[in-house]
């Protein structure tokens, strides 16, 4: 037995180097194994990185929500909308029950919703400030003259710029393309008489400015603001991937809002500055060049042409300062700010870094870079479940990033707010807020606003207002309601009971060990049935929709393509082995003639493949391991946002496990044996008669 095996291995080894076909097969096996090792390890690492990002950001290991819900939970949105969930019946009871399950570490209450908010344009913001000052003056506040005058000057500056724009277009365009009312309105507000009359009837003048002038600047974006209402303290403690970037966390038990950094930058930053950042990042991190890159070239063009946003933001004094600084920095004699800005933004690969620095050092300090700043109060208006529009004020404490997902538009678009504010917006206000509303309704005579006005309020309103309406139905109260009430709400500290004993739409369940997900899912179903909790539990993959399934889908796609590669390899190996067999019919026939049985011939071919498999497969595994070792030590840099997302960060440090090597060797052995089976059987069919035929 052993002696026969010895001769088989001997023949196999000798054949290995005698035949060029074997080297082809060997090369396929070598690269195949290396590929499986590297690909498998990379996929595994990506999978692990992504799952820890998703689990550690908002999903947790599991999510529970009410089984009575119409839709399925979709943490990252449901085709652009929000899933319609019913509130969890009795959250404190649910939490107790869930925590009693072995392996459950934390249960974090949540609710997800979205609102459309107008980011407001610069003119709106400036006019809102002027209105606020006029309001305060109307309430006999003193010492406002300087501020009021500066603000008026700013508005007049804006009007000058708008008139300049309009006149320029008149020169190049057909007169009919310009609305005559627009020109008339601008002419009227340019007159000194208009401004002389301002002090007599500031609110009439403001209304004219707001209705006739502000709409001429159409750079207000509608922002789709998604937010997760949650127990913020518990949330920040539970999710290890959340990191505060600007500002600080919302103090425990307080109302507050945290912007997702990505959303904050994309949606609320001055567009010019955002584009500069993007160019900067592309040059610094991805090593790109502006020249020849269509996207970067477009950014440069847009920055050059879209300077008005900056021009409008600056009052006369700041405009003068900006002109002075830019003339010095650019060594220019140009008098006009927009022309100076255009030449500042005329960047190419040689001067970008310098211009970037000039912008941030000289111009940016004069500007509000963000439409909402940390510390501001944000007004969010949303439709309640009953279809009313509700508006809530909440203080912005800072911004946060979800590590690894911070560049994914899907994942990083969710902002955070406290549960109390969430409930107010959702239409399940806390008992206290409900009381307050009815008190105010009574005071204001419960005057309802008509539908068209409500729309206007919703979409036309500036994002930041200093007044604090609680519900838009109470618009009559606007401006009358004492500010201190909003401040009271802002300073109020809620107890854990208060936070938990209200509407909760879903809850993240964090476990000791990700491996326990299926077991705990089953236990929750059981428990929910037994204690009538009315819960539905889903894994994080399911809860996070396409995002959670991305890794799985990618894995499936890669395994599918690997499958195709292997099928091709099988065909090639099969053909090669067939050729080798046919070339060797004389030898095989001779062996059969001198007394070798069929199984001997079968083993001869298979042993040869196995020897090939082990030798070259081993070599491939070694090669793959070396590559992984190298990659693991140096990390793979993410080269674009998609890879950043898959890597869950700027760099992936893949790891290699022994199981992966074993798996690769196993699969390669299997593939080579399967692909040799047919040639091997064909070999056993070679008749000993061929030995007698003379060799050609």
């Amino acid at each position: 037995m052993i002696s026969a095996f010895v001769v088989l291995v001997r023949i196999a080894l000798r054949n290995l180097f005698a035949s060029a076909i074997n080297l082809v097969i060997g090369a396929i096996i070598l690269f195949g194994t290396a590929l499986v090792v590297v690909g498998g390890a990379l996929l595994d690492s990506v999978d692990r990185a992504m799952s820890s990002s998703v689990i550690g950001s908002v999903a947790g290991h599991l999510q529970v929500y009410s089984a009575a819900s119409r839709d399925e939970l979709a943490l990252y949105g449901d085709f652009g909308g929000e899933a319609d969930l019913s509130p969890i019946q009795d959250f404190p009871k649910v939490k107790r029950a869930l925590l009693s399950i072995e392996g459950v570490r934390k249960v974090v209450p949540m609710g997800i919703n979205a609102a459309l908010v107008a980011s407001g344009n610069t003119v709106d913001l400036v006019l809102a400030e002027l209105r606020e000052l006029s309001n305060r003056k109307a309430k006999k506040e003193t010492g406002l003259e300087g501020e009021l005058e500066a603000q008026k000057q700013h508005v007049r500056q804006i009007i000058r710029v708008l008139r300049g724009d309009l006149e320029k277009s008149l020169a190049v365009m057909d007169k009919s393309a310009i609305e005559p009312e627009d020109l008339a309105a601008l002419e009227q507000v340019s007159k000194d008489e208009f401004w002389a009359g301002f002090d007599r009837d500031p609110f009439g003048a403001l209304e004219f400015l707001e209705n006739r002038v502000a709409p001429q600047v159409s750079d207000a974006d509608l922002l789709y603001l998604r937010y997760v209402g949650t127990d913020l303290g518990e949330f920040l403690r539970s999710f290890d991937r959340i990191r505060i970037v600007d500002g600080g966390p919302v103090p425990d038990g307080k109302r507050g809002f945290l912007f997702a950094k990505f959303f904050y930058e994309e949606g609320l930053k001055l567009k010019t500055a955002r584009r500069l950042d993007k160019i900067h990042e592309a040059l610094a991190q991805s090593g790109k060049k502006i020249a020849g890159d269509p996207v970067l070239e477009r950014y440069v063009r847009e920055n050059q042409s879209q300077t008005r946003d900056i021009v409008l933001q600056l009052g006369p004094e700041k405009t003068r300062l900006a002109i002075e600084r830019l003339q010095r920095a650019l060594l220019s004699k140009e008098q006009e700010l927009s022309a100076l800005l255009s030449s500042l933004f005329a960047t190419d690969d040689s001067n970008f870094q310098e211009r970037y620095r000039i912008f941030y050092e000289q111009v940016a300090p004069l500007l509000s870079l963000y439409r909402v700043r940390v510390g501001d109060t944000l007004t969010i208006k949303a439709f309640t479940r009953s279809g009313n529009v509700r508006s809530v004020n909440v203080k912005v404490y800072g911004t946060f990033a979800m590590e690894g997902l911070d560049k994914s538009p899907l994942a990083a678009a969710a902002n955070l707010m406290d549960l109390m504010t969430f409930r107010d917006l959702y239409g399940f206000p806390s008992a206290e807020t409900a009381e307050e509303i009815s008190a105010m309704k009574a005071a204001a005579g419960a005057k309802e606003v008509d539908r068209s006005r409500a729309e206007e309020e919703l979409f036309g309103g500036a994002l930041v207002t200093q007044g604090s309406p609680v519900a838009i139905e109470e618009s009559a109260v606007l401006g009358v309601r004492p500010r201190s009430r909003a401040e009271q709400l802002e300073d109020r500290v809620y107890t854990a009971e208060e936070i938990e004993s209200g509407v909760v739409l879903n809850a993240a369940v964090l476990l000791d060990d990700a491996g326990r997900v299926p077991g705990v899912l089953r236990r929750i179903e059981e428990l929910s049935g037994r204690e009538r909790l009315g819960l539905k539990a889903v894994s994080w993959q399911k809860a996070s929709g396409i995002l959670g399934q991305m890794a799985t889908a990618m894995k499936a796609a890669l395994f599918f393509s690997a499958g195709i590669v292997f099928v091709i390899a099988m065909v090639i190996i099969n053909n090669a082995m067939m050729m080798a067999t046919l070339q060797r019919t004389q030898t095989i026939g001779t062996l059969r003639a001198i007394g070798a049985q069929r199984p001997f011939v079968l083993s001869m071919v298979l042993v040869e493949t196995l020897v090939l498999g082990f030798l070259f497969g081993g070599g491939g595994a070694l090669l793959g391991s070396l590559v992984m070792l190298l990659l693991g030590a140096r990390g793979i840099p993410a080269f674009d946002d998609a890879t950043y997302f898959f890597f869950s960060g700027p760099r992936l440090f893949p790891t290699l496990e022994v199981a992966q090597i074993a798996f690769a060797l196993g699969i390669v052995t299997l593939v080579s044996i399967v692909s040799t089976l047919i040639p091997a059987v064909v070999a056993t069919r070679v008749s000993p008669v061929v030995a007698m035929q003379a060799e050609e």
């Binding site: 001779t590 007394g595 000993p688 003379a694």
Partner: protein, 237 residues
């Protein structure tokens, strides 16, 4: 002594599509142990076909072929292979050595297949044979490094290493020049004399036939006669 080969009314037909090619048309023959027999006949007369049937690498269409007392028509493929391994040695026209194995390994191969001897016995047997066929000094060489005559010596050693009762050789000298061919036939004859091994070989070459005890003449698939060879071999026999 019972014949080692007994053939009765054997017909072998090859089928080429619809055409039936009769290669042997009713051949009967007996070969006794220790004989040194030549099969002669013009090209296409059925020499190779006859040897294939005796060598159990092919089966008769009709008639009976017995080798070593076994009716080959009644044996399974596996049993036929065993019969070849144990009872028959083959020498081929084109030597048919395994090119990736050395001279020594080629000769040892049938012993490894037979699995009867331990490695020391194998070594003794192989070395002894290599000595006898005069190729011992080349035992580490590959077939490709040998001349035709040397290769055929190795083939003779390989055919004899299992000590078969019968050795078949289909035109063993056809690929050799005549002097070398003579040497090989001398070698075979010597083995026949020393060990009493039965040899059946086919040839075109009248000079080669002279060494045989008997010459079986084939013509169109029939035995035309069984003669004693003429010439010196006759004198020797």
């Amino acid at each position: 002594m019972p014949p080692i080969v007994s053939i009765v009314d054997v017909v072998k037909e090859y089928r080429l599509g619809k055409v039936v090619v009769p290669a042997l048309q009713g051949v009967s023959l007996e070969v006794h142990p220790g004989e040194f027999i030549s099969v002669a006949g013009p090209s296409g007369s059925g020499k190779t076909t006859l040897l294939n049937l005796i060598g159990c690498v092919d089966t008769a269409t009709r008639g009976q072929v017995s080798v070593g007392g076994n009716d080959t028509g009644k044996l399974s493929e596996r049993q036929l292979t065993s019969l070849r391994l144990d009872t028959i040695g083959f020498i081929f026209q084109s030597f048919n050595l395994v090119s990736v194995l050395t001279v020594y390994q080629n000769v040892e191969l049938p012993l490894l297949l037979a699995r009867r001897l331990d490695s020391a016995e194998r070594r003794g047997r192989v070395n002894g044979l290599l000595e006898q066929v005069g190729i011992a000094s080349h035992e580490r060489h590959r077939p490709s490094e040998l001349s035709g005559g040397q290769r055929q010596r190795v083939a003779v050693a390989r055919a004899l290493v299992t000590e078969p009762k019968l050795v078949l050789a289909d035109e063993p000298t056809a690929n050799l020049d005549s002097a070398t061919g003579q040497n090989i036939i001398d070698l075979m004859k010597e083995m026949n004399r020393r060990k009493g091994t039965t040899f059946i070989f086919s040839t075109h070459d009248p000079k080669v036939m002279e060494h045989a005890n008997a010459v079986i003449r084939l013509s169109d698939g029939r035995i035309a006669g069984r003669d004693l060879p003429r010439g010196p071999a006759e004198a020797r026999a």
